[in-house]
Symmetry: D2
Subunit: 226 residues, 4 copies
């Protein structure tokens, strides 16, 4: 695939974390002008400020991440819950509020949320994280249907077992127990490469993907497919 | 169906709202001792206090509701977002934290979350509500898998188009446009009766349903089925 | 749960195989008059003959089974394919054709198809079987929507890891590799008991379940939930 | 997107029907050498013969179609059932049997099945067709998991409301009742263009999509998304 994003100006949030580095590299290769933001989007007002400073944008990639706490469900406290939702969930309506008027003025646009397959299939000691990721996917479904008539496409990737420094740092990948788990639970038999994920995201950010409405695309090496 | 809940002590939250009235009536008919709570679970500490005061409980029915705002996605403000999540989402980890130690002492228990099919299928002007309901369902999936080995079953109903005073008050049902929508969008051709929903919930609260793990059961007259 | 099927006359196909024995026992306990058929439904005409001989029926339970071939996908021959579809798939439209006129005369009725979660989640060396089971579930979804306005409810269970003599005979259950697989892949940590499955089926066959339209209910100890 | 299929030799079945014309055109634009087959794959032996004559193939696109009968469920006869399964379902194991040894010799390959979203969401008067399409999707899930370790990727598109001459000929599109249905039921508000579908298929046929395992991708303008 070449030139999928020619002429597109793409804003990537948390650009140094999660899928940020791979996305920025691949999107640029595919011809995009990438606006790589490292702003912390947790504080109120941060999303609006980011959008204002970013200038004209064709595609917003909401790449939100936080290290997933491994707390047992019965020990999760309000602070953990609040912190994870502040990072993963609360920025979404603010980003929408900030960017939709801009999209309406230019006749359309795209939002791609980089979510998690942990919202599609239950995992132990991941209740806070899964819940926040579930909010993201349901949000995308609803907003996708609402904004489709305005030529704004809102979709999500729901990923797991994709190589990235936030959730699968080298120490985790080197762990034999993790390798066993990969062999046992992931039909692909390996991590999805960051580049594979980024190319699919590039496709979804391109004009070719105008036909998708509030859809969630699992990318998890077959671990969760619906 | 008779006596499905004989000898079960069931705690129902927000017992005068959403599915509360129908559930309390049907659960009692099915032999349960119902603890009907009207506590506001939004404030921190409220869930813990409720569980402490409720005494020995076999089943917790997390019946959480709030009138769904109909705000366009691009106009949702932080206050709406916070208010809806405070009502629908934040009580869940607190309820789990409070009741799981109790369940562990008695050798098991059940949590049934009364969620919404708006998290399964996108609807316009429902982004805040859908996102909060999505957090609930993903939470149930994760906690269900985690607590299954402790003989604690955590499952959810994802409903829509079920007769209840919170979301389908008489004025809505009498509206010809709503009746048209029902005929057009709901294969069942009518609202699911509160009693039908309550009987299914009673089944899921009974010992017969020990085999379900972190599962989401759509009840929406065929509007959303997966 | 008691008396869920009082006054219901339920026809169970292949009554000595798959879920047949457990269903017949539990349905009778729940007050049903059970018509237990052992007819081979593969030949054309067999379904029609069965329905004609069965007399007035309130609920048809399409309990179709065949030992699942474990052939690698690239070695499946036409004969295997034909044989499995003849047993699991081809009887469905014939049963519908035979029983719907009868249901229409009496003002309604129910069909419950006992399907498989192998149609929801991929398994190795199960391509023929999974495909046939996939045909069943999609059929139920379509017919369910079509017949709902006639007060005929058509739904399905999609099961796996449920104790039954056809797919999990004692020799399989005693196999340590199977026990490992159960521990590793099935969040419930055990087979679903035949009785648990049968009680849920009884519920779906009862008048309480009139609200479900073309819906697929996974029962697999959490192995597949959507 | 450019050059997504450079150097790929892609076999497209039923190349003059369903998505065939659009796929052949777009795949060629994307650099593929397209082998466009018009063979009737219903007779036993036809699939094997096709694969033998096609020479070295990197990707097989199983584009199988038949005009969907609109028969009410209670009137479907054995002949309709047999004819539709012969066209849509029976060729699949034969194609797999024929092409997998070839893929194994060259170290991998891809199969993309062009299926239907009618297997994901119930439609009236479509029981035969939906069932056959359901068999396809479940087959892909199973074979996808089985062949992933051999570097063979098997996936499916599940489409509806995509412009194509087989299911949405000009006369249908011009029908005001169809246009109403489109506006009411399809969030996208228009048919997906054949070209949009073809570009997504091209992506799934490319090396970039090596990470997908037995996955079903809905393309239906938001009509069905899971």
């Amino acid at each position: 695939m070449q030139n999928a994003l020619n002429g597109q100006r793409v804003l990537v949030t948390q650009a140094t974390e999660f899928m940020g580095p791979a996305f920025c590299e691949v999107f640029a290769e595919q011809g995009a002008e990438v606006v790589a933001s490292t702003a912390d989007l947790s504080p109120p007002g941060a999303a609006e400020e980011l959008v204002q400073q970013a200038g004209p944008i064709d595609v917003l990639v909401a790449n939100l991440s936080i290290v997933a706490p491994g707390t047992p469900a019965a020990e999760v406290d309000d602070d953990e819950w609040r912190r994870v939702f502040a990072a993963l969930v609360d920025p979404l309506p603010r980003l929408t509020r900030a960017i939709v008027p801009h999209f309406l003025r230019r006749g359309g646009g795209k939002i791609l949320v980089i979510g998690s397959a942990s919202a599609l299939r239950g995992m132990k000691r991941a209740s806070t994280y899964s819940a926040a990721r579930g909010a993201q996917l349901a949000y995308v479904q609803a907003v996708g249907v609402e904004l489709a008539p305005k030529n704004i496409q809102v979709n999500a990737i729901a990923q797991n077992f994709v190589d990235n420094p936030t959730y699968f740092p080298p120490a985790v990948q080197a762990n034999p127990r993790f390798q066993d788990r990969l062999a046992r639970e992931v039909p692909l038999g390996r991590l999805v490469m960051a580049r594979e994920d980024a190319l699919f995201a590039a496709y979804l950010c391109s004009a070719a993907a105008n036909c998708f409405v509030g859809q969630v695309f699992p990318i998890s090496g077959g671990w969760a497919t619906r």
